[in-house]
């Protein structure tokens, strides 16, 4: 598995949101994408997730070009995502939400569901079982019959991630996973993200504003500013990087910290 972003550019009319950005995400790493407001993080994230097509450049997953594929095929390429403002199927139960995560894995045609054939029932039972396994692992098993909208915010986030995990995608894209969480919850999130990587062997690419979370959990960071990559490296190096301090805090502050 390898995901690489090669000289991606994206322009919205005359506004250049991304200019020649490249990096590659190693298998099994926790990779962070940061930058000040308007740096182009979300645009890049959306290009990787297939929501936008880049103006130039390519996205490669195991050597296959993804940049012009429709976004519902990302799952087939083993890329799953979550959303900044949680997107659950609010009127469906927690269990149904998870089962929809297995959408592409269920193969029996519609006609078999009318007759409840043996193979159809076996497949549905398998899906429910797998979904329950995941819900139990993430402590949502007793919520399975509740509509997703009735869960508290923190649990909705976990449910959304569980749903992305059940797709068995190798790469998980997290869009601001700590948004709206308090300190305790974001501490739990850090453990959760590590657990996903360590125990389930997923590769994680996240966009995040909460520097506490980013510095704790990420192993490698790419910093964007005004659509360009200004730094890449381990969190401790990024913290000292002059360009990064300048981008976040201004040149004056960068000069002060240097002396």
């Amino acid at each position: 598995m390898s995901l690489s972003v090669n000289s991606i550019s994206k322009a919205f009319g005359g506004v250049v949101a991304l200019n020649n950005v490249s990096f590659s995400v190693e298998q099994g790493s926790i990779f962070g994408l940061i930058g000040p407001n308007g740096a182009g993080k979300t645009t890049l994230f959306n290009i990787i997730a297939g929501v936008f097509r880049p103006t130039a450049g390519s996205i490669l997953m195991n050597g296959a070009h993804l940049e012009h594929e429709p976004n519902y095929l990302r799952i087939d390429r083993s890329i799953a995502r979550t959303f900044q403002n949680i997107k659950l199927f609010h009127n469906l139960t927690v269990l149904q939400n998870i089962v929809i995560g297995m959408h592409t894995k269920l193969r029996r045609p519609l006609i078999e569901s009318f007759f409840h054939t043996k193979r159809w029932r076996a497949e549905e039972a398998m899906a429910r079982e797998r979904a329950m396994e995941m819900l139990t692992a993430f402590g949502l098993a007793d919520r399975k019959d509740l509509p997703a909208r009735s869960l508290p915010y923190g649990e909705q986030r976990i449910l959304e991630m569980t749903r992305a995990l059940v797709t068995e995608s190798k790469v998980l894209l997290l869009d601001e996973p700590a948004a709206g969480l308090n300190n305790v919850e974001s501490g739990r999130l850090v453990d959760f993200i590590r657990m996903i990587r360590d125990k389930m062997g997923r590769t994680i690419l996240l966009v995040e504003h909460d520097m506490n979370v980013v510095m704790k959990v990420c192993e490698k960071l790419v910093v964007l500013d005004h659509g360009e990559k200004i730094a890449e490296g381990e969190p401790k190096d990024i913290q000292k990087n002059r360009n990064v301090i300048e981008a976040y805090l201004g040149r004056k502050f960068a000069n002060e910290t240097e002396c």
Partner: protein, 334 residues
């Protein structure tokens, strides 16, 4: 009633409700002598099929359609023309008109990939009108003179030419529709439709090809409306463009909303209320529309999801149990 007896009641209703309903439907003609009542019940069966098929579009997939009478008309005209001009038997004509309804659905579904809400409503409304105006102006449909003398269905020697025989045939078709939509709801296909309704972006991110599901929701809705059309043509033996008005589309829409959007039993209840009540209230001719209007307003205020509740994942009657779980969940959190 306390929680326990409600729970018992809801268990009986969910387990045996449909069985009970089927038995009642089978027995009714034995006790009802009046052809008029049976006639109304046939109409209710047809409206059940229509409301249930519209529910696939609106209730499951969240695509508002105000042109359902258009699919109904397509089915009716195709079946009538095949039987009158090409000498098809009812059964083949019925299958062909279902296929025609399906294709018409796919055709109308194509703009639905790009349109939402009000705009989609306008397009579907236009579709209904286009079908009606085509039927009005084409030579083959004989315009406003309509198509008389449509033959009744036959099996061997037996001809479905009485109200009672058509009653059984139409209710059989209605139950087939209810069964099919009910089963579909709990399949991969149905879940995908509901995921598109609740959140398109999330559905896409999980690999749901929303264009495919939106278009096929129209196709399946159109298919069952085509079935209703074929039955209608054969039952009344005469169709004309006047039958398939916009008001019928709106009526079918109201049945579905009134009964309960996204539920299986809802559209059936809605069909009974909106097709049956006006007949019961015939004595108050001028007041019945007012009464219906007030009913709809009251419903939208007090039960916006319809009588049997909206988007209910577990079926209307299980709501109380769910509320109990929710209460417990709340106390656990705090």
């Amino acid at each position: 009633m306390n929680d326990k007896s409600i729970a018992l009641f809801e268990n009986v209703v969910t387990k045996y409700g449909w069985l009970l309903f089927i038995i009642i439907i089978i027995l009714v003609p034995r006790f009802v002598i009046s052809d008029y009542v049976v006639h109304v019940l046939v109409l209710i069966a047809l409206y059940t099929i229509l409301a249930e098929s519209l529910n696939v579009l609106v209730g499951f997939t969240g695509q508002f359609s105000l042109g359902h009478a258009g699919f109904w008309a397509v089915g009716a005209y195709i079946a009538a023309l095949l039987m009158l001009r090409a000498g098809f038997s009812f059964w083949t004509a019925c299958v062909v008109s279902m296929a025609a309804g399906y294709l018409a659905g796919l055709f109308l579904g194509i703009p639905s990939m790009r349109l939402k809400g009000d705009y989609l409503c306008i397009v579907t409304l236009g579709f209904g009108e286009i079908v009606r105006i085509l039927a009005m102006n084409l030579e083959v449909t004989r315009g406003p003179m309509g198509l008389p003398g449509i033959p009744s269905p036959e099996i061997g020697e037996f001809v479905f030419d009485t109200e009672k025989s058509m009653y059984y045939l139409c209710w059989a078709a209605a139950f087939l529709t209810i069964y099919a939509t009910g089963r579909m709801r709990h399949s991969k296909f149905g879940r995908a439709l509901m995921s598109v309704r609740d959140d398109e972006l999330a559905a896409v991110s999980l690999g749901v090809n929303i264009a495919y599901y939106k278009v096929h929701a129209f196709g399946i809705g159109g298919m069952f409306a085509g079935l209703a059309g074929a039955l209608y043509a054969s039952w009344t033996t005469f169709i004309s463009p006047d039958v398939f008005q916009f008001s019928d589309s709106a009526n079918i829409f109201c049945m579905m909303i009134l009964g309960g959007l996204g539920t299986i039993a809802g559209p059936v209840l809605g069909a009974f209320l909106l097709a049956g009540l006006p007949e019961l209230l015939r004595g108050f001719a001028e007041f019945r529309l007012i009464a219906l209007g007030l009913l709809m307003i009251a419903l939208m205020i007090y039960r916006p999801g319809g009588i049997l509740g909206s988007y209910d994942t577990a079926g209307g009657v299980k709501k109380i149990r769910r509320r109990r779980i929710e209460r417990e969940a709340d106390t656990n959190v705090t």
